[in-house]
């Protein structure tokens, strides 16, 4: 009998470490000899800490247990009786059953730090195939899969890889963007904590494909669990030949290291990240040149999000076709969608593109946690648009969201109930942009501050119509005049709040009560 207590940060934040410690103490006391695996999270955060036990029928779960519940739960497990926290067979839970887990196939199932289990569950098959077919065909496989950058921009990964592969240079780099700063997102964190070898394998394949022998994974400092998990896994990978001078015994070399950020949201922007890695202020670079031509330390660099690189081992192992068969239009494959905020069943839901926003929020998310009606959802992080329930028919797809004046970004969905003040949220978007702007370009640096002041005047009831027009004009300037997505996309939450929720901007209030 094997026990599982997630070591994921979101489980630890609600007491999983205490549950694991109590379980180990009881095993000692009762002379029970059974392993306790600190697995990744299954991504059903309302159920954490979720203790699981494997049985003949499959893995049985006990949800939301505390250290104090552990003795009674253990009694029930040993006696084969019921416990109120029991949720039955975990794989049969509707939230999991409805998913198509390609990237998250192993997360929560295996011991994340066991490279043996990684291999048993299909790991390393992608790298083995890449070694067998060689760099050029590996790039084409990724191109054919239709994989697009999962960090938010949705740029075709294959084109980026082709460009870097064709760039002649003595040294090239792979940079993994793990600066997952968008509110409402946690998929990168879950990959790093729950299946770190998949990311390492994805980076090694990228290195092989474009001729890069060195890689960096830039992780935000707010993710100490992920930093520890990646560092440990990289060490293990080196010992097992998944990294080093000879990848799995082949002629290809690749090694990587973790770099930790220092609390700057803008460093999630790719060129700002390169500046930060080089040891400078995280100020955005003007493009061109593209990082694929002139990137880290002036060399051709592939910079991809965690989820992009994590999708690569599957694509190589199963073939481009197997991945591209999922999805709609130009959005191929699956997307690990993160349902967050005021929602009953929040968590990670990986599914093919094309599912509607309403299905995600109402059916899968189960509506609000507070039980009040849903009023708004923000899709794509702090730079994404707010949508009212009247837009819930929108299918999850890059082009559809762009046409609706929004973006899917890193696929985080934050749900708000009817107590939300949308003027306050629009104000927050400008405030956030002002706090996090790198300061390099004027529309973002000055525009966000002026935007904040102007929204405050609207809230105070001063010249509402004129100030509204001013905010709209300012947003236009920010959208088209900013160097990067921080200034360029801050208009999305602001304008969508103004457009869909005008009533919240029409009632004069004391600004102090809003901010």
């Amino acid at each position: 009998m094997k026990f599982f207590v997630p070591g994921d940060a979101a489980a630890c934040a609600v007491g999983a470490d205490e549950v694991a410690a109590e379980l180990a103490r009881l095993f000692g006391e009762r002379g029970i000899d059974a392993p306790i695996v600190r697995n990744g999270s299954r991504g059903m955060f309302e159920l954490e800490p979720l203790l699981e036990v494997d049985t003949k029928e499959g893995r049985v779960g006990y949800a939301r247990i505390s250290a104090a519940d552990v003795p009674a739960v253990l009694d029930a497990i040993v006696a084969g009786s019921e416990h109120p926290s029991g949720v039955g067979l975990v794989d049969e839970l509707p939230f999991l059953k409805r998913q198509t887990r390609l990237t998250f196939a192993r997360c929560g199932i295996t011991d994340p730090q066991s490279i043996e289990e990684y291999r048993e569950h299909g790991g390393l098959a992608g790298l083995e195939r890449a070694i067998a077919i060689g760099p050029a065909d590996t790039v084409e496989e990724v191109f054919a899969s239709g994989l697009r950058g999962r960090g938010g921009a949705g740029f075709p990964a294959g084109i980026k890889w082709r460009t870097a592969a064709a760039a002649p240079a003595a040294q090239k780099y792979i940079v993994c963007n793990a600066d997952e700063g968008d509110s409402g997102t946690f998929a990168d964190r879950m990959v790093m904590e729950g299946d770190p070898f998949m990311l390492i394998e994805g980076m090694a394949i990228a290195g092989l494909a474009v001729g890069a022998t060195s890689g960096y994974v830039y992780i935000r400092s707010e993710y100490p669990h992920a930093i520890r998990a990646m560092r440990r896994a990289i060490e293990t990978a080196r010992q097992h030949g998944l990294l080093g001078l000879s990848l799995l015994g082949s002629a290809f070399a690749f090694d990587m290291e973790v770099r930790v950020g220092a609390g700057a949201y803008v460093c999630g922007e790719e060129t700002s990240m390169l500046e930060s890695l080089e040891g400078r202020r995280g100020e955005v670079r003007a493009k061109p040149p593209l990082p694929a031509h002139v990137g880290l330390f002036g060399m051709p660099t592939i910079i991809n999000n965690v989820l992009t690189l994590a999708a690569v081992p599957f694509i190589l192992a199963e073939g481009a076709r197997a991945y591209a068969d999922f999805g709609m239009g130009r959005s191929r494959g699956t997307m690990p969608i993160q349902i967050a905020g005021n929602v009953r069943n929040g968590g990670l839901f990986e599914t093919a593109f094309g599912i509607t926003l309403g299905e995600l929020v109402d059916e899968i998310g189960g509506g609000t946690l507070s039980g009040r009606p849903v009023r708004a959802v923000q899709v794509g992080g702090p730079l994404g648009a707010y949508f009212p329930p009247s837009e819930f028919h929108l299918p999850f797809d890059y082009e559809t969201f762009a046409a609706a004046d929004g973006l899917i970004g890193h696929a985080g969905i934050v749900v708000f109930d009817d107590t939300v003040d949308m003027a306050k949220m629009a104000r927050f978007a400008m405030q956030f942009c002002a706090a996090e702007s790198c300061g390099k370009c004027t529309p973002c640096r000055i525009g966000s501050v002026r935007g904040l002041e102007t929204i405050d005047r609207i809230i105070a009831g001063e010249d509402v119509e004129a100030n509204r027009a001013l905010v709209e004009a300012l947003c236009e300037t920010m959208k088209f005049g900013s160097l990067c997505a921080l200034g360029g996309f801050t208009p999305y939450p602001v304008l969508s709040a103004l457009r869909h929720f005008p009533e919240d901007f029409a009632k004069a209030r004391d600004v102090e009560t809003v901010s």
Partner: protein
């Protein structure tokens, strides 16, 4: 937190030695200095600049760019409270005043700890806390104080 605020040039040299052969070593060095002394002392800037063949202005520019790097020690134990959208949707604005009113600690705003389906959330040192409510948020301040005296 077991950190000390006083430092010597030898301490900085030791940190520099650890990163000697790294490319783009400035941020890892500054992160280590911050972790060791709860701030990046102004006096350490010329030593780091000299070692990396940078100007003092360049190092100062980096220190003042990143939110994690501070020029003075906190003085009080820090609770990092997430104030981003998902935690706002889950009521962080209701519990924040309870923490902010506690003069024994310093409350720092962070934007997102990646616990967005379990907020409101906070971090003390490297420990994370979620599903915060009126009761647990009070215990959080005690936790920060315990950590500081340990």
């Amino acid at each position: 937190m077991g950190r000390r605020e006083s430092w010597t040039a030898a301490d900085i040299e030791e940190i520099l030695r650890r990163h000697r052969d790294r490319k783009g070593a400035l941020l890892p060095i500054l992160n280590d200095v911050q972790a060791a002394f709860d701030h990046v002392p102004d006096g350490a800037v010329p030593i780091i600049a000299e070692a990396l063949n940078l100007s003092r202005a360049e190092v100062h520019g980096v220190v003042t760019f990143y939110h994690d790097l501070k020029r003075t020690p906190h003085g009080r134990p820090v609770v990092k409270l997430c104030r981003a959208e998902a935690c706002q949707a889950r009521g962080v604005d209701r519990i924040a005043p309870l923490l902010e009113g506690d003069e024994r600690i310093e409350v720092e705003t962070v934007y997102c700890l990646g616990l967005c389906a379990s907020g409101p959330s906070a971090m003390v040192g490297e420990e994370v806390f979620a599903r915060l409510d009126e009761d647990s948020v009070r215990r959080l301040a005690d936790r920060a104080l315990d950590g500081a005296s340990a």
